[in-house]
Symmetry: C2
Subunit: 187 residues, 2 copies
DNA sequence: TGCAAGAGTTACCGATCGGTACACTTTATG
DNA sequence: CATAAAGTGTACCGATCGGTAACTCTTGCA
């Protein structure tokens, strides 16, 4: 009963979409790369769009789990964890196949605010914001919502800049800025 | 001798690509939207990619001209202009057809660092960085390169967040952060 | 007036797109 | 062992993809 093949499909489709983009990755390429027949794919997902939505759900789960865990491993105070977010990002930027944020890409290719893919990407960012805001509260910062939004702006900016310039430098630039902003919200 | 038709094509293609994305906009759609025959297009541009590169050149020129001019109109000191960048961004975010940054989109759809479209997008960001760095110098800020990079991270973050959340709020969040960062670099 | 260059029209190319029909084989379970 | 669910292979669909050939129409200028 365990949906092994389905999970395998979603996972491999994730890699293909991340590497090639959504429109540029055809279902036939997915067949070639996953080794799963097109007939099977269309038994699990009615359309390509449905598959993409499943891919984004998996990505959301994995990315948030990874980031939150890494932040906790790198620091043990809420305040330290907020700053450690940028060290975690630096690790990500340095990975060989780094190609930016999948949700930014998704919302770039499916721009209509009403499109489910765009909406799901926005959900991901909202969940991140909630987590960071909670952390800012526990760190005792003044106006936790505002500082959380600012840190996330630095995060998104670093993600796209690291991708465009293919360098991980933006992580430390963002970290330096984050430290100053947190400092100013500390009393 | 004036290349009227060619310019018209590039300009209308810019709108179409910005609205629909690059892969999602076919040459036939361009024919329908511009009223220019496909034969004519292919006399001016050898490939779709060449057309996209011309579109990005136009976008770069227009966007930087607009941003620099707006910053100068909104403030008359270098320091004020740096901060005014985020007010200019807010105006942009509030425009009806706002769909994020064309160069981020382009580098999302053409991810390979070696791809000309990716490279040209990176050029745009580099030119922005040079301008902002020079402004930071004239503002007398310590470490102008670092503060410029940080401000641009806030800018990129605000651009994608405004697009994803279809709200212009990130502009003021970024502005508040920018003011603090500039403050800390002032002595 | 003649004529070349630019633009348009129409029809077409092979390849690929997302998606389906159908018959076949594998696999897990009662 | 039977059976049904799950997966595969192959061939196909109409539409669209980026790009081209051949021919006509317009326009500016010597």
């Amino acid at each position: 009963m365990r949906p092994t093949k389905r999970d395998e499909l979603v996972q491999k489709a994730l890699q293909a979409f991340y590497r090639n983009g959504f429109h540029a990755t055809g279902m036939d390429m997915l067949v070639a790369e996953t080794g799963i027949s097109k007939t099977s794919m269309y038994k699990h997902f009615r359309t390509k769009e449905d598959l993409i939505l499943a891919v984004l759900r998996l990505r959301d789960e994995r990315f948030r789990n990874w980031l939150y865990r890494r932040m906790e491993e790198l620091a043990d105070t809420p305040r330290g964890q907020l700053i450690a977010m940028f060290d975690a990002l630096e690790e990500w930027f340095g990975e060989p196949g780094y190609k930016g944020c999948m949700f930014i890409k998704a919302s770039s290719e499916y721009q209509d605010a009403s499109h489910p893919i765009h909406g799901q990407s926005a959900d991901h960012k909202r969940m991140l914001e909630r987590h960071i805001t909670a952390l800012a509260e526990r760190a005792g910062l003044s106006d936790p919502g505002a500082i959380a939004r600012q840190l996330l702006l630095l995060k998104e900016g670093a993600i796209v800049t690291a991708h465009l310039g293919h360098t991980k430098d933006p992580a430390q630039d963002a970290k330096a800025a984050a430290i100053q902003l947190i400092e100013d919200h500390s009393r």
